[in-house]
């Protein structure tokens, strides 16, 4: 991957120029799906954009010292991590890539969640600290399953390169891995039934309690970009390989949209689980499947 393709992927497609409007669109779909399921009309189409611009034009409380600087830095770091993850997705055929970019993608996908944990603690609000502790507990539980699922997909196809993974035909093992990733996505996106860290009204706004104005706008954007990256990762793994560029892009967008719709419906239909139930769900119920997936992937690898 040379510099120009890397920049084009990061800034144009599927990077910022595509990902930011897509993030707003997915945030709207999330709210609209909830509204429709409650027989409401719901927010207008441009609502996430209005919210973003309004938040940009609000003042922030004065923040001093290292803590203040950190509080400004975390949301920016989260946005850049999520945007980088979107930029790495192999949407277009033969768009370049490098050996091991799957590992970089996983690290970048994890960055917003790390930033949320740090943000809650550096805001020094009691609700922020509770939210961060919950996020940390949640992250420890779903990440085992998430990482095992991705490693099993990669091991079954003998590569850690995203483009090769997307190009190879899907095997039954890969579908098992995709299913495991899908189970982890609601926790990764902090939506119901795993909306524990930012549990609205229960602990005010969790780690985001003390954030205001442009900082909050960046958090909203990073949440939207996480939607694009999470849904996009599953879409690229599940989509059949298409050689034509525009067709591949359309397929990616349609698949991501369907995924977002599914997850929003799940969020609207369920209530928030308690933290111990969530941890038990991931450690007891889904971990078995993830271990099965990775052991069969390794077994197949040694046999071949």
């Amino acid at each position: 991957m040379n510099l120009i393709t890397a920049l084009a992927r990061l800034l144009i497609f599927p990077g910022l120029l595509f990902a930011v409007p897509a993030a707003w669109f997915f945030l709207w779909v999330e709210r609209k799906a909830v509204a429709l399921m409650q027989e409401r009309i719901g927010p207008p189409f441009m609502q996430p954009f209005f919210d973003f611009v309004k938040l940009l034009a609000k003042s922030t409380p004065p923040r001093r010292g290292i803590g203040g600087m950190l509080m400004r830095a975390w949301p920016l770091l989260a946005v850049s991590g999520a945007a980088g993850a979107v930029g790495l997705l192999p949407v277009l055929p033969s768009s370049g890539g490098f050996e091991g970019d799957l590992i970089l993608l996983l690290a970048l996908l994890e960055l917003p969640s790390m930033c949320i944990i740090a943000a809650g603690f550096s805001s020094r609000s009691i609700f922020g600290e509770i939210g961060s502790a919950r996020e940390a507990a949640l992250s420890v539980s779903y990440n085992i399953v998430f990482l095992l699922a991705i490693v099993s997909v990669a091991a079954s196809q003998h590569t850690f390169r995203l483009e090769m993974l997307a190009a190879l035909p899907a095997s039954p093992l890969r579908w098992l891995g995709i299913a495991a990733i899908l189970v982890c996505l609601p926790a990764k996106l902090h939506i119901n039934p795993f909306s524990l860290p930012n549990a609205e009204q229960e602990i005010y706004a969790g780690p985001m309690t003390e954030y205001a104005g442009p900082e909050l706008a960046m958090w909203e954007l990073s949440h939207g970009l996480e939607w694009v990256a999470g849904a996009g990762l599953v879409a690229t793994l599940a989509a059949p390989h298409v050689a034509i560029g525009w067709l591949a892009a359309t397929l990616f967008i349609v698949l991501s949209f369907v995924l977002v719709l599914l997850l929003s419906t799940l969020a609207a239909a369920t209530a928030r689980l308690a933290i111990d139930t969530t941890v038990r769900f991931y450690w007891q119920c889904t971990l078995i499947f993830a271990v099965l997936a990775i052991s069969s992937a390794l077994f197949m690898r040694f046999r071949s």
């Binding site: 609502q47 034009a57 985001m208 309690t209």
Partner: protein, 162 residues
């Protein structure tokens, strides 16, 4: 520059986030505020969102006749909301202290302590009246500057004295 300002105006008008503050209300107005967000009235069509933290909010909705205990909390919360901001007083209580007038436990009405932009009278007001009040406050909010004007600052101790 002018275009940017107009865009901000539109966005502020279309996305008022509320913080609900109860200052000793009988819960009548609180229930009506919740009803305004429920499927029947659906205030989210106007971009209204009920926020958990005052830091996220644009409009503070105060219910209740402002008891003595609540004064400090109201001032703190008003200070925590970032500029530009607006205040909606929901019900007759924050406007006039209503039937509790002359009570020893009250320090109301509300505009003695923080500047109020819109009063929604009624005991309790109907949800549609509350939505209209919030929409009006959002219009006031849209025209506000980033820096607070003199009228938006809470009155000093001398001014607040009856």
């Amino acid at each position: 520059m002018n275009l940017w300002k107009r865009l901000i105006c539109t966005c502020r008008r279309r996305s008022p986030w509320l913080f609900h503050m109860n200052s000793g209300s009988c819960n009548g107005c609180d229930i009506e505020l919740v009803a305004a967000l429920s499927p029947r009235y659906d205030a989210e069509q106007l971009g209204v969102r009920l926020e958990g933290s005052p830091r996220h909010a644009d409009i503070v909705c105060v219910t209740g006749p402002v008891t003595r205990n609540a004064v400090a909390a109201i001032k703190t919360v008003y200070g925590q909301v970032c500029h530009p901001k607006a205040v909606v007083a929901i019900g007759s209580c924050p406007a006039t202290t209503n039937v509790f007038i002359d009570s020893r436990t009250l320090a109301g009405p509300l505009d003695k302590h923080i500047p109020v932009d819109v009063f929604v009278p009624g005991c309790p007001p109907r949800p549609d009246a509350i939505i209209q009040g919030v929409a009006k406050a959002a219009e006031i909010l849209a025209e506000r500057e980033m820096k607070p004007a003199e009228t938006e600052l809470p009155p000093t101790v001398e001014e607040a004295r009856p």
